[in-house]
């Protein structure tokens, strides 16, 4: 069941070029939606204006080598392993959702364009099902337990707001897609059609709703993460105080409260507020 290409069966009722046209249309909508979103919210304009304003606060100039190093660490830490999240559960859930979605999209493109027949390699079809399951695992974990609205605001899981459009349409796409594929493989005709219709509707909302959802975060978040590392490296630090060495005699002379109350060589005090998860609403 998981080794067969669900789009090959679909191609027997809907012409293959229509299916391929739909996938291309969705890709165009994502690109177009992201560009319109950027123009509408002026996010790129704001981003570059802020970087320009930070120039005056720089304490050192970054060379091309520094920037390449920062770009590599951004890709490795912030993008590939979702390093920005301070909550480890959220980070794991995001990794499942992100890699599941990437797998789902890549295998969909492979199954629709490269292997649109029943002879598609079993591994590609299996990865398509696995990708959907990964998104569902990470996504439902996030939706019911990790989401800040539920975890810190104390609102019930069934309250839906505009911010939920992305996660709900993503979960809908993978859930309905997976259920449709399973029902189709089992030959349940009526329900297959129902879930196919739901799959198409929700997938269209996901890819066409970029302007209104947070789909575009996958493009601007890496840019923000890169900028966050740049401001640390060039010393501008968005006007945040400099990191300090409490055992430095010059600093102790400037701030005599430090040696008076904490000693000449203050120990590591461990975690205070951050010892507990924010769940005291």
């Amino acid at each position: 069941m998981f080794a067969s290409n669900p789009f090959a069966d679909l191609a027997m009722t809907i012409p293959l070029n229509v299916i391929q046209g739909y996938v291309i249309l969705m890709a165009i909508l994502v690109v177009g939606g992201t560009v319109v979103d950027m123009i509408h919210k002026k996010s790129a304009k704001y981003f570059f204006a802020k970087a320009k304003a930070a120039e005056a606060s720089r304490t050192r100039e970054l060379g091309a080598g520094d920037k390449i190093g920062i770009a590599v660490s951004t890709v490795v830490v912030d993008v590939a392993t979702s390093g920005e999240f301070c909550n480890p559960k959220r980070r794991i859930s995001h990794l499942f959702t992100m890699y599941g979605f990437i797998l789902f999209i890549l295998t969909t493109v492979a199954l629709v364009f490269a292997y649109p027949t029943h002879e598609a390699p079993a591994i590609v079809s299996q990865l398509w099902h696995l990708g959907a399951a990964m998104v569902m695992f990470g996504g439902y974990w996030f939706w019911f337990f990790i989401r800040v609205d539920v975890a810190a605001e104390g609102v019930p899981w069934y309250r839906i707001v505009k911010a939920d459009m992305f996660i709900l349409s993503l979960l809908g796409t993978t859930t309905f897609g997976l259920v449709w594929a399973i029902l189709q493989a089992k030959g349940v005709a009526v329900w297959t059609t129902v879930f196919l219709a739901l799959f198409i509707v929700v997938a269209t909302v996901l890819f066409a709703g970029v302007m209104w959802s947070k789909f575009a975060h996958m493009f601007f978040k890496p840019a923000a993460a890169f900028n966050k590392r740049v401001i640390k490296a060039d010393g501008s630090r968005e006007n945040l105080p400099e990191p300090v060495d409490l055992s430095d005699p010059a600093l102790q002379k400037r701030f005599p409260d430090i040696p008076e109350y904490m000693g000449k060589n203050p120990p590591n005090m461990g975690l205070g507020i951050k010892r507990e998860a924010p769940s005291h609403y």
């Binding site: 430090i258 005090m269 924010p278």
Partner: protein, 160 residues
């Protein structure tokens, strides 16, 4: 000086929502990022500023604190046990850096075990003194401590 959130820096973790004693830090329903829903009701305790792991919350200072257009930023380092404030004026030249201890002992390891303390006697209950008051104001150590007994004099005016 109410607080506000840089939404591009916020990752919506909920620490500020959790800690705000005024319950005015909430999650935006469009972008799922934190924001101060009612700056007029902000107590200016800066718990959210200090708790934010992303340094995404800032203080909007009043004009009598520093000329408008300034920046007030804080970095609360729990592991070092210090809090650092930086106030930068809009001309970029006046740049104040302040640093102060926020603890002298490791966090959570010296919590008094009050349930192990014997219950107060009826004499202590009838007394006007609060719990441990004689000890904390050092009444046991030479009676009431005043400026005079410590050889100090009150200086008139504001002393800095």
């Amino acid at each position: 000086m109410p607080t506000f959130v840089y939404m591009t820096r916020c990752d919506g973790c909920g620490h500020c929502v959790d800690i705000c004693p005024s319950d005015i830090m909430h999650i935006d329903t469009t972008y799922r990022r934190a924001y101060n829903i009612e700056p007029n009701m902000c107590w200016e305790c800066y718990s959210c500023v200090k708790a934010c792991p992303q340094n995404a919350i800032d203080v909007r200072g009043y004009a009598d604190f520093a000329p408008l257009g300034h920046s007030v930023r804080v970095d609360r380092d729990e592991e070092k046990g210090v809090i650092a404030w930086r106030i930068k004026f809009r001309n970029g030249e006046k740049d104040l850096n302040l640093l102060a201890p926020i603890t002298t002992k490791p966090w959570g390891k010296f919590i008094p075990h009050l349930k192990d303390v014997p219950a107060p006697s009826s004499e202590q209950r009838d007394s006007q003194l609060l719990y441990n008051e004689p000890k904390y104001i050092r009444m046991d150590d030479g009676g009431l401590h005043t400026l005079e007994t410590n050889g100090l004099t009150l200086q008139k005016g504001v002393q800095y």
